[in-house]
Amino acid sequence: MKLHDPLTRYVVRLGDDALIMGHRLSEWMSRAPFLEEDIALSNVALDFVGRARLFYQYAADLMGGEVTENTFAYQRDVRDFTNLLLCELPRGDFAFTLCRQFLYDAYSLPFTQALCKSADSQLAAIAAKAEKESRYHLRRSRDWMLRLGDGTAESHERCQDALDQLWIYTDEMFECDALLDGLIAAGIAVNTEGLRSEWLDTVTETLHAATLVIPKAQGNVTGGREGIHTDDLGFLLAEMQFMQRAYPGLQW
């Protein structure tokens, strides 16, 4: 599925981030450390899947014809997905999931705040809803950073390990490419490069409070925006898309 219109590509990109993040979180359902956290984590997963639906529905409106939100979720191959690599990494242990979530939430809050000011009124409306969710997500994931980082020796070590593994994937969040440059000039897209310092401030403050250290940069891994993914996304899609692949057009 090839997308040409820049706005549609941008909207689908945002939808992909949300769907893949939501799916990874949903994998914890019935597996979280205790019942209350299971419910809370599932709530966050649902927020992201709901966000993906809003973006995909808008993209479907922009494309017209037979395309629906489900087309984007279930009928595209791995190379068509343009989510951040950070979102698709396997869930790992609980510390890894929460560290990923914190690093992403610390980006997602200023991102949605900036998107509220988009010249595109539909994007601004979706962002207004997402911003409230992100505010709560960040409160939750920041809280967990403090609990795990400043908790037991084991939770601290797992948390630091997770951060060390995740760090090389964070730079991609702030990357600008030709698609973004055009949409930023039109006042539609968020200039993600401009979010970097706020993100780093939040992360630095929290990690410090959690007795964790900022990993030393060891290069960056990128490519998600061009559809160059880790092997793991293929397995995720195989599971998520199975029903629609086996029974095309199946409805509940």
């Binding site: 209350e36 809370a40 939750r140 809280d143 908790g151």
Partner: protein, 94 residues
Amino acid sequence: MSEQLQLYEVFIRSSRGLDHKHVGSLHADDPHQALEYARDVYTRRGEGISIWVVASRDITASQESDCDSFYDPLDDKPYRHAAMYELPEGIDSL
């Protein structure tokens, strides 16, 4: 995080002007986390505008065995109830 999660009782006020009502209990590491879980577990469908959480161990409760001495003596003191008054016309309940 402590080794053992604590039990908390959750109270929710459904709208302004009403009292907080007990809705259930949950486990959490501290009151702060209990408040967030209360939000996730008990207010997903717009149930409330305010949440209280209280550590269950901080509640002093009456016991089944207290019933005789607490409540039975009230049975023969009907004058404590307002049941003897006749309601003015036009008022169905008071």
